[in-house]
């Protein structure tokens, strides 16, 4: 433990003090300065840079964010999107993991389900939006469904791949020590697949964020949006609404919020994943 802690703190100090850290700082600073100068090019230099001059300046975006974090409606939007992401994501885990395991374990089941799965998989989740609005009774459900699809296929593919990649010697060893089929499933297949489940979940939640935002834009913000609440329809609808209302700083502020939310979700899942697979990290 002590050694591990030392190694981690060593890595951290190494990173903070190291070249990579300073390169990163300089790069981000340069990017922000270029962005600021580009946005204000008309005021500062008397002519407009192409493209960047249309984008609100970082300082303006920062101000907008300051205002937004004090508004309950912004938090409501964030909350709604987060809720949809997690509904879809958990549904995808709940259905995807058992399905993937069943497909990996049973040749018959694999033979039946995989062709269907492979036909559906390449369809982008967003292509499902119109159909799911028609088929699901509420907007809320149709958004959650599309979100579900975003994570579902990634999770299933990872589970199948992970379970298949388990070394055959583990099965031989378990069997020769008297394991029953159920025991092998519980103590070999499940933990053996866990690292891939973690990877699938981490990637899947990222896709989920991408999908939920687009679905909210297309479908008009779900129940809250259709009721006319301008900022109640999730972050996707919030961005769309800001666009319609001409508030460009809010668009960028909304984008950054999604970036942060997506990063936080992936980081949280990675953290949970590391706790669940201690044999991979403790060295």
């Amino acid at each position: 433990m002590v050694a591990a802690a030392r190694a981690i703190s060593g890595k951290l100090t190494g990173f903070v003090a190291g070249d990579d850290f300073w390169r990163g700082v300089v790069a981000i600073a340069a990017f922000l300065i270029f962005w600021e100068a580009g946005s204000r090019s008309h005021a500062w230099f008397g002519f407009s840079f192409p493209w960047v001059s249309q984008v609100p300046a970082p300082t303006a975006v920062l101000q907008a964010m300051f205002r937004l974090v004090q508004e309950p409606s912004f938090w409501n939007s964030t909350f709604l999107s987060t809720l949809r992401v997690f509904e879809g994501f958990f549904a995808a885990m709940l259905i995807g993991i058992p399905l993937g395991l069943a497909m990996a374990v049973s040749r018959t089941f694999f033979g039946i389900s995989f062709p269907v799965f492979e036909v559906l998989r390449p369809i982008p989740p967003l292509a499902w939006v119109p159909a799911s609005i028609i088929f699901w009774p509420t907007q809320e459900l149709s958004i959650a469904f599309v979100t579900f699809l975003g994570a579902f296929f990634t999770i299933v593919i990872n589970v199948i791949g992970g379970a298949r990649a388990i070394d055959v010697r583990y099965f031989q060893a378990a069997r020769s020590m008297g394991s029953s089929t159920w025991d092998i499933f519980r103590r070999i297949i499940l933990p053996g697949t866990l690292p891939s489940i973690v990877v699938g979940a981490t990637v899947g939640v990222g896709i989920t964020w991408a999908v939920v935002v687009a679905a909210e834009m297309i479908s008009g913000g779900g129940s809250a949006g259709s009721m006319g609440g301008a900022a109640g329809g999730g972050l996707g609808f919030f961005i769309w609404n800001s666009y319609v209302g001409g508030s460009y700083t809010q668009i960028v502020a909304g984008m950054i919020s999604i970036g942060i939310a997506g990063y936080a979700s992936s980081a949280a899942l990675r953290k949970i994943g590391n706790l669940m697979t201690p044999w991979l990290s403790e060295n």
């Binding site: 010697r169 031989q172 060893a173 069997r175 020769s176 020590m177 008297g178 103590r187 044999w279």
Partner: protein, 275 residues
């Protein structure tokens, strides 16, 4: 455990590869039988047949008179590379077998403790395999097999790939374990010194398709010490004899059916002998 006229081939038609041919031998109970043969001659294939993971193309394998039809609790295999479960601690790995059979009893737990001490892993019980050195992993695996008290222990080059120091240490650990429990053991190796140090009987195998070429009894007194073996005349005589046979078999593998290559090797070794 008895193998009678066992053959095994892979593939079909003109791609058939005969790996084991008409191979017969006995693993005598209470003894440590070592099988030694050139690399790639089919030793691991034989092990898979004995373990019951694969079926012989022809011939029979029996244990205590009953034919082997699949893996069983009466035989335990330790593989060439470590097959410890990476997601379990050393202790959980060792207790795997008892738990699989619903025998997580106080007796089993204290046997696990004894084995942990015997293989020198008492302080590493909570570590995962990836946190153990190569030698420790093999020892953990030995303990994981021993706890199941199989009628026959089967080990496939368990110390291969370890550095010389670790390997020697492992051989000593292993000889101690064997001398303590005297479990019927089938031990495969390519290392003649290891074979002589550990064996009661040595089976020398021919090249692929493999069968037993010669059986040598090693009646050196136990407990043995590695230093004594190198100076023991009987041991050295066995070593010379075994090396001669193994050299012949290894030559066959170089020749590989090519007359020109065989002639070349023959001429070359003659010149070597003349000096």
């Amino acid at each position: 455990m008895v193998a009678t006229n066992v053959s095994k081939s892979y593939g079909a038609g003109e791609f058939t590869k005969q790996v084991v041919q008409n191979c017969s031998f006995t693993i005598e109970s209470g003894k440590l039988t070592v099988m030694i043969g050139p690399s790639g001659c089919g030793k691991s294939t034989l092990i898979r047949l004995l373990a019951g993971f694969e079926r012989a193309s022809s011939g029979t394998i029996t244990i205590g008179g009953k034919p082997v039809t699949g893996p069983g609790l009466d035989r335990m295999v330790v593989f060439q590379e470590s097959a410890l479960f990476p997601w379990m601690s050393t202790y959980d790995n060792i207790m795997f077998g008892p738990r699989a059979r619903g025998e997580d009893t106080p007796e089993m737990r204290s046997f696990a403790e004894l084995l942990l001490q015997k293989v020198g892993l008492d302080g590493f019980r909570r570590k995962y395999p990836s946190q153990l050195s190569g030698g420790m992993q093999r020892r953990a695996e030995l303990a994981r097999s021993m706890i199941n008290k199989p009628d026959v222990m089967i080990l496939d080059e368990p110390f291969r790939g370890l550095d010389a120091m670790t390997k020697r240490l492992m051989q000593e650990y292993y000889a101690n374990l064997y001398e303590e429990f005297r479990r019927t053991t089938f031990f495969v190796t390519t290392d003649i010194d290891e074979a002589i140090y550990l064996a009661d009987r040595i089976l020398i195998m021919t090249n692929i398709p493999t069968q037993v070429r010669t059986v040598i009894d090693v009646d050196l007194p136990r407990p043995r010490h590695i230093e004594d073996i190198t100076e023991n005349d009987a041991a050295n005589a066995i070593k010379m004899k075994a090396l001669g046979l193994l050299h012949e078999e290894a030559m066959k593998s170089f020749a590989g059916g090519s007359k020109a290559a065989a002639d070349f090797i023959d001429a070359y070794s003659r010149r070597m002998v003349k000096g």
